[in-house]
């Protein structure tokens, strides 16, 4: 019998983006670390994320975007989450968020301003992501993974 998960997360790729490898690898790491993962795969609307998060009462949403259109795709997401009663659900986004070269601080600010709690720098390793997530959710790391 499986022990209860330490936290519940919803993962997926936003918009018309097909880059799924990264989030899949991340899901694998999350599960191994004891999270309950609800994976939406690719081609999801903001509503898909919100619907699933409400349904499973998620502690966090992990949104992935690599194709470079993230800024256009997440507009208004935070407000919709709030309206759906997900004020407490932590919002994470990562991947490769912009298509041009700009200072990371700019990119990060853009998405923090959009209401995300954390913006993952490109190429961040699963280990580092898990550590951050456990810190934020006050959960204990199960895996001991190198960043």
């Amino acid at each position: 019998m499986k022990k209860p998960a330490k936290a519940v997360v919803v993962t997926g790729v936003i918009g018309e983006d097909v880059h799924v490898t990264g989030i899949r690898i991340l899901e694998h790491a999350l599960r191994s670390d004891g999270f309950e993962v609800h994976s939406l795969g690719i081609h999801n609307t903001q509503e898909d994320f919100i619907g699933k998060a409400s349904e499973v009462n998620a502690d966090a949403i992990l949104m992935s975007s690599l194709a470079g259109h993230a800024e256009m795709l997440v507009k208004g997401f935070k407000e919709k989450c709030n309206r759906a009663g997900l004020e407490k659900t932590r919002l994470y986004i990562g991947g490769q968020l912009v298509i041009h070269s700009e200072a990371w601080e700019e990119t990060e600010k853009t998405f923090l301003d959009q209401g995300f709690d954390r913006v993952a720098v490109p190429f961040l390793r699963p280990g580092a992501i898990l550590a951050q997530l456990n810190r934020d959710l006050g959960t204990h790391a199960v895996l001991d993974m190198a960043g």
């Binding site: 018309e16 983006d17 097909v18 799924v20 490898t21 899949r24 690898i25 694998h28 795969g41 690719i42 081609h43 194709a67 470079g68 259109h69 256009m72 490769q96 912009v98 298509i99 041009h100 070269s101 490109p122 190429f123």
Partner: protein, 480 residues
């Protein structure tokens, strides 16, 4: 949806075209008579199909990027720079991902942003919103042929406008678009969309305008090449049935020299054989190679080595067109400078090796790979024909359903997803799990043996972590 591999009747094609051209205002700009006239006045040197045949006759390898930018200006500047500074022989209009998914209104919004901000916003060239006139502004500024580029479930309007706009070919196909670019679209719908595209190309061919169609099969991710070759040959046969006459065989290089070379040889041999068998003996096939789409290293010094490395493989494989990624790959949409540097690197390597006409294709490692690869392809493909009662399209629909056509890491929920690849101790892609592929003992044992070798080398059993690590290990600076 009932579907088969027979040529569309003109009436049916016409009905379909009316619907497609109505998908977005620019559709009304398309007038085939005018399009044909436009192509006829273009110098033959700007026709991709004719250019690659020249390469085949003269034993040349041409270089071809895969990039595109959003505004007319950005895109034109990018291609001019690639042509003049990067010495690229064939150019591409990489299509943005909104357009690929018929989200034209989003593409338009992004384009406006780009024009306003002066910096790129879309990840490719939104050919539909630019329309025929806009597209020709780009084509007219160039001396080299330009291809439409990028798999997508529905590139019908993209082709109507892109071809009328002066592109002379396209790279992509129904199978790769199904596995790797959709979530929940039935394969028959995507094949139907590609029959449209192929019929349109067939029409241009009937008007005496060669069009180059580059099949793509499936995105490799530590995939034994038969996983790509089988769907690629299916794409070849679907195209031929609609009257496509110039087909480029896309070889997805994953880095293992012997296996990659065997891929190039096996694919060409079997594609020609199955075309012949199916009665399409008048189709010209040429070969193309391109480096993998796994994560790239971030450091330029390393990426340069990869660009050189995959150029080497293409040349040794005798391909007519060698594609390449750029030093910007890991970071962002390639800039024109980054692209030019990358192609100068590939060109230098090519200019060293190509004139030697060194032939290592009889190498025993290459032949061993060829031998097993050929058995795998025949096993699956013949089963597909059997399931379709001789019709490859009917067979494909059934085989996908039964997991006889399968892929690892597919984005589509409609894929069985049982097959899984892993590297052997030399870096070649092997079946960790062959799922429901109709393989005999000999094939299965070959892969099991290779897996055992890797486990001995690692001295541990291969875990899911090994498999995942194989996916990104090249970005860390090594094949294994």
């Amino acid at each position: 949806m009932e579907i088969s591999n027979s040529k569309w009747p003109d009436t049916y094609f016409r009905e379909q075209r009316d619907k497609v051209l109505a998908m977005w205002p620019t559709g009304s700009e398309v007038e085939l008579g005018d399009a044909v006239a436009y192509h006829k006045q273009m110098p033959p040197a700007k026709n991709a199909a004719l250019k690659v045949l020249k390469a085949r006759d003269e034993n040349l390898t041409y270089l071809c990027p895969s990039s595109g930018s959003d505004t007319i200006n950005n895109h034109r500047e990018l291609l001019i720079h690639l042509q003049n500074e990067g010495e690229a022989d064939i150019l591409t209009s990489y299509i943005d991902s909104f357009t690929r998914n018929c989200r034209f209104e989003m593409a338009q919004e992004g384009l406006k942003k780009a024009e306003a901000s002066g910096r790129p916003v879309l990840n490719g060239f939104p050919v539909v919103v630019h329309g025929v006139g806009g597209t020709r502004e780009v084509i007219n500024a160039l001396d080299n042929p330009v291809l439409l580029f990028g798999p997508t479930p529905d590139a019908r309007l993209t082709h109507e406008i892109g071809l009328a706009g002066g592109h002379t070919g396209y790279s992509g196909g129904p199978m790769i678009s199904f596995w790797n670019y959709t979530k929940d679209v039935p394969v028959e719908n995507i094949i139907h969309n590609f029959q449209y595209i192929n019929r349109l190309m067939g029409f241009y061919e009937e008007q005496g305008i060669p069009m180059l169609y580059c099949v793509s099969g499936a995105m490799p991710s530590i995939s034994p090449p038969s996983l790509m070759i089988v769907p690629e040959i299916i794409e070849v046969l679907i195209a031929a049935a609609q009257g496509v006459k110039h087909i480029q065989l896309n070889n997805w290089l994953q880095g293992h020299l012997a296996q990659d070379l065997a891929y190039i040889l096996t694919f060409k041999q079997l594609a020609d054989e199955y075309l012949e068998k199916s009665g399409f003996s008048d189709v010209e096939t040429t070969t193309y190679s391109v480096s993998p789409t796994g994560r790239f290293p971030t450091a330029h010094d390393r990426v340069y080595a990869l660009i050189s490395y995959f150029t080497m493989t293409g040349i040794l494989g005798g391909v007519q067109v060698c594609g390449s990624r750029t030093i910007d790959e890991a970071h962002h949409i390639p800039t024109k400078e980054g692209s030019a540097h990358s192609f100068r690197n590939a060109r230098m390597f090519l200019n060293m090796l190509c004139p030697q006409h060194m032939n290592i294709l009889e190498n025993k490692d290459v032949q061993a790979e060829q031998n097993i690869m050929e058995k795998e392809v025949r096993a699956v493909l013949d089963k597909v024909f059997e399931l379709g009662g001789g019709d490859v399209v009917k067979g494909t629909v059934a085989a996908v359903d039964m997991g006889i056509l399968d892929q690892p890491y597919a984005t589509s929920q409609r894929v069985r997803g049982k097959v899984l690849g892993v590297k052997d101790s030399t870096g070649a892609a092997r079946f960790y799990d062959a799922g429901d592929l109709p393989f005999d003992r000999e094939i299965l044992e070959f892969h099991e043996e290779k897996i055992r070798e890797r486990e001995t080398a690692l001295n541990q059993k291969i875990s899911y972590d090994t498999i995942i690590n194989d996916l990104t290990v090249i970005s860390e600076g090594r094949i294994i």
